[in-house]
Subunit: 321 residues, 2 copies
């Protein structure tokens, strides 16, 4: 490359490493860059981050829960927004539950920031990440972790909304679907708790209804509906609501007369059902706001950890409740 650019090897190294200690003229710099391009030279991010002490990499462990359309869109917006701020987002995949071992594996890539969706990272993991050079650790889940910024996603609020709505509609014997699929507990447990809290001290009862996402399971539940004596159900989300509504319909249970149904997520499919599905609209933080928060935290790594509540929940009342 030095020969092609007509300069010394040291000059090539100074230019490509962007060394500021040595003054190099603009034309020389340009000749080196042109030669590098012609030869297909690619800088080594690893070497660069070793020199700089940090990278522009924002590491996100891939979620351990099945990603629905709402959350998928949120992740995608976030990646675009961080990309605009010149960060490279990498999703670190394949690991099991998060923990301190996982944090060590993430730390090996020396990310400048780590954004952890869901639960499981402990204070020890945060320390490992910070000691290895992460300037910001941000969790995105049900509770805050010592030493990390926290964006609290309070899924109790989703259940609370749904429970209050059904109560206000005059329902008193309220079922709550609890998906049996792995990885959804961190959403379903607080949603159930939220319904219980909303109805605490009233004359209403709350019944947990475990359900796998299968037609046969839904049919079995619908067959027991009358003996359960329920008059309403919070169906966890819109997809489970669709599954249950079909089974109740096939069983001759009228919606909303015999059973009021409310979902969550406000997906398109709820508007396509008949009766139209009532739902809890969930407001996630915008990708742009979150990207700015990460950037801010990276620029000021000494700042005290902040906690923000970021999940909004409001009922969209349609015909099924």
């Amino acid at each position: 490359m030095a020969r092609l650019a007509g300069v010394s090897r040291a000059t090539v190294s100074y230019v490509l490493n962007n060394t500021s200690a040595v003054r190099i003229s603009e034309p020389t710099r340009r000749r080196v860059h042109e030669a590098a391009k012609e030869l297909g030279y690619v800088p080594h991010a690893a070497a660069r981050s070793l020199r700089a002490g940090h990278s522009r990499m924002v590491l996100m462990p891939a979620p351990t829960f099945p990603v629905g359309p709402l959350y998928g869109q949120f992740l995608s917006d976030l990646q675009v927004a961080l990309g605009r701020l010149d960060y490279t987002v990498v999703q670190y995949g394949g690991a099991g539950p998060y923990g301190d071992e996982a944090a060590r594996a993430w730390a090996e890539l020396r990310p400048v920031a780590v954004l952890v969706p869901g639960a499981g990272l402990g204070p020890k993991g945060v320390t490992v990440l910070k000691r290895s050079g992460a300037r910001a650790v941000v969790t995105l889940g049900p509770e805050s972790v010592e030493g990390a910024h926290a964006l609290l996603m309070d899924h109790e609020a989703v259940g609370h909304c749904a429970g209050s709505h059904l109560y206000d509609r005059g329902r008193r014997r309220i079922g709550v679907l609890v998906p049996e699929e792995d990885g959804l507990e961190s959403f379903s447990t607080p949603r159930l708790a939220g319904v219980r809290h909303a109805l605490h001290g009233t004359d209403a009862t709350v019944t947990a209804l475990p359900l796998g996402y299968e037609e046969e399971a839904a049919a079995r539940l619908a067959a027991r509906w009358r003996e359960l004596g329920l008059d309403a159900v919070f169906a966890y989300n819109d997809e489970y609501a669709m599954l249950l509504m079909r089974a109740l319909h096939d069983e001759g249970v009228r919606i909303p007369e015999d059973a009021a149904v409310i979902g969550a997520d406000d997906l398109m499919l709820g508007r396509l059902l008949r009766p139209r599905l009532s739902t809890v609209h969930i407001e996630l933080p915008s990708g742009r706001d979150l990207a700015e928060l990460v950037d801010h935290a990276v620029r000021d790594p000494g700042a005290a950890p902040e906690t923000h509540k970021v999940l909004g929940a409001t009922v969209v009342h349609r015909d099924s409740s």
Copy 2:
């Protein structure tokens, strides 16, 4: 760390770098590792890959298309399978369309293998990746790229299946929904072409029907249904099929009498619709098979690029067609 382990700094470095040139006793090795653990030492993947010349990182650019449930499950299975083979999967996000510039950015992370979903990577990008140390480049899309292994996903077959099925059911004026959403062209274009190929030389006509994923757009299309004079529609996938079926139903168009409908993807929701939705079941390669192919390619980087057709398509006939 040397002090804690009671050894020289050179010994610490030999042990942590796993240097084979110097013989170090097992107890000493153990003391160093224990001290490292106690001090929260995390090896630097960057430094390690600089020494080793390559990493265990499989890089996948994040897909540029909206990921549906079928593809999402496939990605997740693949990550787990590669994790079992001791690879770290990172999804590189945020970039726009793939191209040689994108390949340079990926190359900076010095992945040992790169797995590219969708189209856009060119032979130049493959060269950049290989020159920077990637032992295997595998594309997962509509066509093969010079120098890379190719897993061909032939979405024409999906359309071909659907078209033949509707023809066999006696339909002759066949509409094909074409989503207007960005990023879906690489699926919708070959699916439409597949229908045309299936019906080429017959007395059937094929009409492309652009449609956005919105209730109002579907209602407008349904309102024109009778003047279009169609008797069947391949609805791109099950979600679009649900949208269109609802609009046709509201317009009084009977399914399948006035319009046979077939979707694709074989999602649960199709079984929940009434009439039950006919669909094209799409068979993607198993995550395990694909992980093994990647591993094989990494171990034998000199092997000639291989091409495999990996997408299977079969009709699941239900009540809507």
